[in-house]
Amino acid sequence: MNFLQRIIIEPFESCYEKMLTFLPYFLTSLALFIAGIILGVVLRVIFLRIFRAVNLDRATERLGLFEMFSKSGIKEPPSSFIARIIEWLTIFTFAVVALQTLKIPTVEHLLERFFLYLPNVFTAAVILLFGYVLGNFFGRAALIACVNAGLKKAGTLGRLVKITVFILSATMALEQLGIGRETVIIAFAIVFGGIVLALAIAFGFGGRKMAKDYLEKNIESKKEETRDEIDHL
């Protein structure tokens, strides 16, 4: 009897007691999770209306974000997409809080580490987004300036500016995430410096004639420009 008590009944009672203690946490957690889902849906509807009222889609179009969304395969308008992200962020936040409410030490520890890392992810995402927007902006500005200056390689130069800005932002984002901090910076410096050096050497040695022709042509075209005497105003 004593044996049966120790092997079966006591563990069962202990488990039952633990379940009794855990159940309120579980129910609270479940309630929080459901509340999160409802709140997420409500917030999505509210934010969608706000975004449409302030004409967010047109603003993102101007910033070039619409293009970025399309290229990433997102077919819905940015207003709807961002509202959906807000919905899922709300649900996710409530899910995390719900998990913490369960009071499971391992989960708590994991969540703590996750929360400490989360700001880095957010900052990196913002840096990438800004990098994309700025890359587009400066790339377009460089393209137009090069076209107006009559540079035949305007398209290449515009793309180069765009890519450089984006790579710079990606390097900063990776550094923010702590991924290969030094490696990324050194790699960037080596690649960038290498490109410049390669171009300088190629232009100086391999393309001496080309450089000569280019400079002569450029100086010649400058001479022509002074001969163009139209007064535009």
Partner: protein, 420 residues
């Protein structure tokens, strides 16, 4: 900020010393020591010859010249009036030479002129460029007398110019101003204007001095503001406009951007006014018309076509958001045409300008990018115009510009409908 220049040490004392004046002529300058002396003499002679009984002031508003422009202004004077056949006594003539503050540009220089005009309570003003070689004393009479004698508020210049000169005026600003605001003002950005003291004060009430108006946009802003606000406008024939060789480093796209941005900005401001205008009217013209010999202008058509072709190759993704499919198709074909067959019809050009105005209104992309991307198209249009007008004389060229204006007027109703 308004009135700040008149409180500045030196300027305040000069204004207090002068007290009141009847007529003021402003000369904006920046490193024009070589040419400004002639302009100062012409202005002084104009005052003495045509307004001997008026209290006159010459204001040089300088952008920080390093070549002694202001010293030249102070030192230049007509000592012997008999050489210009003048023997009568002159009432009073004063000079103020001061650097202007604010964004570097002609508009900021004019603001200083307006402020001094207000402080002195002048009845009539004029502004003339500091690099003019063809200015005569008669210009002062022609710019000021319509204000003093006939009660006009704004006198726009009318010049004889080389057929290839003033292409931004001829292909964009003149036709657009004419079709939108209904007044035939041939040189809305001529640069030399006469205006009443009342209008100078009105200009100062506007908060535009941190925008492109402070730079090249000032001319179109002054003209449009005068027309759109119901001030009486006339034109004076000044003869030939010849000025110092332009700065070869002057950036065409920046110039085009500033002028077009100011023009489009004014369209936003006066939308309710221009939407109601359905016909164009002539404005009175003063001055004696005569033919003048003009210096030849050299152009490199092939380089212009090359720039247009480069723009068509690289900027189509931007233009796709602005221009119609038909227009884009035409531009693609044109970029492959030989110099002999290179023609951009008036209908296409007017549609391009209206489409850019609509795009600027809708704020599709950054305004500077949008308007600077117009440069290759403008260069293409200029090349086409030069080719078309190669064999034409002045009246024939004027007829071509008249045709372009009529096209702008025909397309205006559809443009106005699309402007929401």
């Amino acid at each position: 900020m308004t009135g700040a220049v008149t409180q500045r040490e030196g300027v305040h004392e000069r204004i207090t010393g002068i007290g009141e004046a009847d007529i003021l002529v402003g000369i904006p300058s920046y490193n024009n020591a070589r040419t400004i002396g002639h302009v100062v003499k012409a202005v002084q002679a104009g005052f003495a010859k045509y307004f001997p009984d008026k209290r006159t002031v010459l204001v040089n508003s300088d952008g920080g010249s390093t070549d002694g422009t202001m010293d030249v202004v102070q030192a230049t004077t007509i000592d012997d009036f008999s050489s210009i056949l003048l023997s009568h006594r002159v009432a009073s003539f004063s000079k103020i030479a001061t650097p202007y503050h604010g964004i570097p540009g002609k508009g900021s220089a004019f603001r200083t002129v307006f402020e001094i005009a207000r402080a002195l309570g002048v009845k009539a003003c004029a502004v003339v460029d500091s690099d003019l070689r063809s200015i005569t004393p008669e210009w002062i009479e022609l710019l000021i007398k319509p204000v003093v004698n006939d009660g006009y508020d704004y006198v726009s210049p009318l010049y004889h110019r080389h057929k290839y000169d003033g292409t931004i005026t001829n292909s964009i600003v003149y036709p657009l101003t004419r079709s939108l605001y209904g007044k035939i003002v041939r040189q809305p950005i001529g640069g030399d204007f006469g205006f009443s003291g009342k209008l100078a004060q009105f200009y100062l009430t506007k908060d535009v001095w941190e925008t492109d108006v402070a730079r090249y946009g000032i001319d179109i802003w002054m003209t449009t503001t005068a027309i759109a606000n119901g001030f009486s406008v006339c034109q004076s024939f000044l003869g030939a406009k010849i000025h110092d060789a332009k700065d070869p480093g002057a950036d065409l796209s920046a110039m085009l951007f500033q002028v077009v941005a100011a023009t489009f900005g004014l369209m936003e401001e006066y939308v309710s006014m221009w939407k109601k205008v359905s016909e164009t009217k002539k404005v009175p013209v003063f001055g004696f018309h005569y033919e003048v010999g003009l210096e030849p202008v050299s152009v490199n058509i092939q380089r212009m076509i090359d720039k247009f072709t480069l723009g068509t190759r690289e900027l189509v993704p931007i233009w796709e958001n602005i221009l119609s499919g038909d227009t884009l198709g035409f531009l693609r074909k044109l970029s492959q045409a030989s110099q002999k067959k290179f023609r951009m019809p008036d209908e296409i050009w007017a549609d391009i300008v209206y489409s850019f105005a609509l795009a600027a209104h809708s704020k599709i992309i950054n305004q500077e990018h949008l308007l600077k991307s117009l440069t290759p198209l403008y260069i293409g249009r200029t090349a086409s115009f030069v080719i078309e007008a190669w064999e034409s004389n002045a009246p024939e060229v004027e007829e071509k510009i008249e045709h372009l204006c009529r096209v702008y007027e025909q397309l205006k109703p559809s443009f106005a409908n699309r402007w929401t």
